[in-house]
C-alpha cells in the first residue's frame, strides 16, 4: 500500500513529518522510474485500400528521399502526399551499399517497404542504383588518400574500380530480378560527369560506358522487359581536365564515341532552370531548363531519336541567399510553366520529376528551398499550386 493515506497521517501524528516527506519523495521517484519507459507508441502505417493517382498531368513525377526514413509511417505519408499531389511516378535511390552490406548477403527490407507503399498508392517507381559498399572498395593502402588501417575509409562511397564492375552488375541483376514486374525502370549510377560522383577521380566517359554495358546486359538477362536508363549527367560547363567534372554535353558525346548506344533504352536527364524561366533559349555556354534540347540533339545525331528521355531531376529554388535562386512567386510560375512547355514541346520526354519532395530533416540552408513539403509534412505553397494545376490541368494564379 505505497500510496495509503494512513501512512501520511500516521507519520504526521507521530511527529516526524520529515520522514513522511522522505517516504513520499521516494515513492514519487519510484513512480517516475516505473512510468518513464511508458511512452506513447510511435505512429504506425495504417493499411489502406489500393489507391490510384488522379491527375491531368502524366509527366508529373517527384524525386523522393525515402531510403533513409527510419519510421515506416513517414514513407507511407510521403507517398500519400505524392499521390494527392497528382504525381504518378517517383524516382527513388536504392543504394547498393545498403542493399548488399556484405558480399552476397542482401537486405531488401527497406526497399521492400518503399515498393509496397508505392504500389499501395498506385505510384510507379523509377529506381536509381549506385553507392558502393565498403567490401567492394579498395583497401586504404591501395588508394592515394584516406587514413590507413580502416577498411574502405580511403575511398568514397562513389568509388568503383573497373574490376568491381561485375559485382555492381550482379547487384543490378539481383535488384531487377527481385522487383521484376513491380519496378520496370532502373537508372545506372548518377551524374558520372562529376568527380564527386566518380569517387573523386577524374571522370571517364569510357569507363562509365563499360559500367553501363555490364549493368545493361546483367539487367536484361535477369528481366528482359526492364527499361535501363543511362545515368543523368549533371548540368555543368566544366572543361576537360577540370577537377570538378566535365561538361554534360561533351561527356555525352564521348559516351557515344565509347559505344554507349546499344546499352541503354532511355536516357535520364537532370535539367535545372536556375535563374531563368522555362522558355529561355538554351545554349552550350549556359545552364537552364531547355538544356535537355541540346542533349536530345546529340541523341538524334547519334541515331537515338527513338529513345525517350526521363527528366529525373528538375526544379527551381527560392532561397533568399542562393545566387542561383528565384523568388517564391517565380518558382511557382516557372515550375508550372515548365510542365506546359515540356508537354507541348518535348514529345520524347515521358516524366518530369521535381527535386525534391521533402528531406527527412531540414538542412536550414538553400537545399530546403527545393522541397515541396517541410520535413514535418507541411505543404509549401508550391505543393498546393502544383496540386491544383495537376487537378485542373490549367495554369492559374490567384
Amino acid at each position: 500500500m505505497i500510496f495509503s493515506p494512513r501512512t501520511w497521517r500516521d507519520t504526521r501524528i507521530a511527529g516526524r513529518p520529515w520522514q513522511c516527506w522522505r517516504d513520499w519523495l521516494l515513492r514519487v521517484a519510484i513512480l517516475i522510474v516505473v512510468i518513464s519507459p511508458l511512452r506513447a507508441a510511435p505512429p504506425r502505417p495504417v493499411a489502406t485500400p489500393p489507391q490510384t493517382v488522379q491527375t491531368t498531368q502524366p509527366l508529373l513525377c517527384m524525386h523522393t528521399r525515402l531510403i533513409d526514413e527510419v519510421d515506416e509511417w513517414k514513407i507511407q505519408r510521403s507517398l500519400q502526399l505524392v499521390r494527392e499531389l497528382g504525381a504518378a511516378t517517383i524516382v527513388e535511390f536504392f543504394p547498393w551499399a545498403y542493399l548488399e552490406p556484405e558480399e552476397g548477403h542482401f537486405d531488401w527490407r527497406q526497399a521492400d517497404r518503399i515498393v509496397a507503399h508505392a504500389e499501395a498508392q498506385g505510384i510507379r517507381v523509377i529506381a536509381r542504383l549506385g553507392l558502393v559498399p565498403a567490401w567492394a572498395r579498395p583497401s586504404p593502402q591501395d588508394t592515394l588518400f584516406g587514413p590507413a588501417g580502416e577498411e574502405g575509409r580511403g575511398t568514397t562511397l562513389n568509388y568503383l574500380q573497373t574490376e568491381r564492375f561485375p559485382d555492381f552488375a550482379r547487384f543490378v541483376a539481383a535488384f531487377v530480378s527481385r522487383y521484376a514486374g513491380r519496378i520496370d525502370q532502373v537508372i545506372i549510377w548518377n551524374e558520372p560527369n562529376l568527380t564527386f560522383e566518380w569517387g573523386y577521380r577524374m571522370v571517364s566517359p569510357a569507363d562509365y560506358v563499360e559500367l553501363l554495358r555490364q549493368s545493361y546486359l546483367a539487367a536484361k538477362a535477369a528481366s528482359p522487359d526492364v527499361r535501363v536508363l543511362a545515368a543523368p549527367l549533371a548540368p555543368t560547363l566544366e572543361v576537360e581536365g577540370s577537377p570538378w567534372g566535365l561538361d554534360d554535353l561533351v561527356f555525352l558525346e564521348q559516351m557515344y564515341a565509347a559505344g554507349a548506344a546499344p546499352y541503354f533504352d532511355a536516357l535520364a536527364v537532370h535539367t535545372y532552370g536556375f535563374t531563368e524561366p522555362p522558355e529561355a533559349e538554351p545554349g552550350e555556354d549556359r545552364l537552364n531548363f531547355r538544356r535537355v534540347e541540346l542533349i536530345r540533339a546529340i541523341m538524334v545525331a547519334h541515331g537515338d531519336a527513338d529513345k525517350p528521355i526521363a527528366i529525373t531531376e528538375t526544379g527551381w529554388n527560392d532561397h533568399p541567399r542562393w545566387t542561383k535562386a528565384v523568388s517564391p512567386a517565380e518558382r511557382i510560375d516557372y515550375t508550372l510553366a515548365g510542365y506546359e512547355y515540356a508537354e507541348n514541346q518535348w514529345p520524347y520526354v515521358d516524366v518530369l520529376c521535381q527535386w525534391v519532395l521533402r528531406y527527412p530533416a531540414p538542412t536550414l540552408s538553400y537545399p530546403d528551398n527545393f522541397t515541396f513539403l517541410t520535413s514535418d509534412f507541411r505543404p509549401r505553397p508550391i505543393y498546393t499550386y502544383l496540386q491544383a494545376y495537376a487537378r485542373r490541368g490549367e495554369l492559374t494564379r490567384p
Binding site: I2, D23, R321, A329, P362, L364, Y366, R380
Partner: protein
C-alpha cells in the same frame, strides 16, 4: 513501508566514495591539456558571406553591412583587432571547422542539427514572420485576424504560415502578391488589413513608409546568431556576453536600425 537511513558504515563508504570522485576530478583538472588561447591568431577572425544585403555586402572589395558593423562592435568590446574573412555561403561552416575563422557572423540561422559541431550565441536578430498593420488596428497577433484580409508574398514562408492559420481561424482571406513589398503596399492602400512578411522585408519597407508598424508578437521565430567552434568555450562566452550587453545597452538596436 518505513524507510531507514543507511547505516553508519554505509554512510562512511558513501563519503569516502565521494571523496575519491572529488580527488579524481581535481587530478584530471591538474593534468588537463593546456587551454587553447581564445584568439590564437591575435585577432578576431570573423567569417562573413558578403552576398546577403543588408547583412553583408561587397562593394569593390570593401565589406559593409549589418554583420560587419556588429563584428566591429564585438571586436571593440573584446578589445582585439578585427579581421574580416569573406567566404561563400556554402563554405561558412567548413571554414569555421577548418579553423580559418574564429567565429561566423553572417545572418546564420540557428541549426539544431549542427549543435554538435558549433556553439551558437544568443540571437542578435529575429528574422521570423511578423504582422505589419496600422498601429491602432488592434491586430497584434494572428488570432485577431479572424474575418480579416491578410497580404502575403505569393509562395513565400508568409504564404505558407497564413495557410496554416487559415485552418485555425473561422475566416482568413489570404491575398497573395508578387513581392513582400507589394503585400505591404496593399496594407498601406487599404486592400488588406495586415501583411504577413519576414522581419527583414518588414523593417526595410517601414524605413520608407511610416504609418504602419510591426505587431509586437512575432508569428514565427527565425533567430540569427554567431557560431563558434565548441573547442573554444571562452570565445563563445565572451561573444555571447558582448551580444547580450549590446542588446541591454541599446547598441544592438542602433546597429540594426542603421541597416533595417
Amino acid at each position: 513501508m518505513r524507510l531507514r537511513l543507511p547505516s553508519r558504515r554505509a554512510r562512511l563508504g558513501i563519503g569516502l566514495g565521494l571523496l575519491a570522485v572529488a580527488a579524481g576530478v581535481m587530478l584530471a583538472y591538474l593534468l588537463r591539456a593546456p587551454e587553447r588561447p581564445m584568439l590564437p591568431y591575435g585577432a578576431l577572425r570573423v567569417g562573413i558571406d558578403p552576398s546577403y544585403p543588408p547583412f553583408g555586402l561587397d562593394f569593390d572589395g570593401e565589406l559593409s553591412g549589418l554583420d560587419i558593423d556588429l563584428a566591429t562592435a564585438l571586436a571593440g568590446r573584446l578589445d582585439v583587432p578585427l579581421r574580416l574573412v569573406p567566404l561563400g555561403y556554402d563554405g561558412l561552416y567548413d571554414a569555421l571547422k577548418a579553423d580559418q575563422v574564429d567565429v561566423l557572423l553572417s545572418a546564420l540561422r540557428v541549426d539544431p542539427g549542427r549543435m554538435g559541431d558549433v556553439h551558437y550565441t544568443t540571437g542578435y536578430f529575429d528574422a521570423g514572420q511578423v504582422l505589419v498593420r496600422p498601429p491602432e488596428s488592434g491586430l497584434d497577433e494572428m488570432s485577431a485576424m479572424d474575418g480579416r484580409v491578410i497580404g502575403v508574398e505569393f509562395g513565400s514562408e508568409g504564404d505558407q504560415t497564413a495557410r496554416a492559420w487559415q485552418r485555425r481561424l473561422r475566416v482568413l482571406d489570404i491575398r497573395p502578391f508578387e513581392t513582400a513589398s507589394a503585400a505591404l503596399e496593399a496594407v498601406h492602400s487599404g486592400q488588406a488589413d495586415a501583411a504577413l512578411v519576414d522581419a527583414i522585408a518588414a523593417r526595410l519597407w517601414l524605413r520608407d513608409h511610416p504609418g504602419l508598424a510591426i505587431a509586437p508578437e512575432y508569428v514565427t521565430h527565425d533567430p540569427y546568431a554567431a557560431a563558434v567552434r565548441p573547442d573554444n568555450p571562452r570565445l563563445w562566452e565572451a561573444i555571447d556576453a558582448a551580444i547580450q550587453a549590446m542588446h541591454a545597452d541599446g547598441t544592438l538596436e542602433t546597429i540594426l536600425s542603421r541597416w533595417l
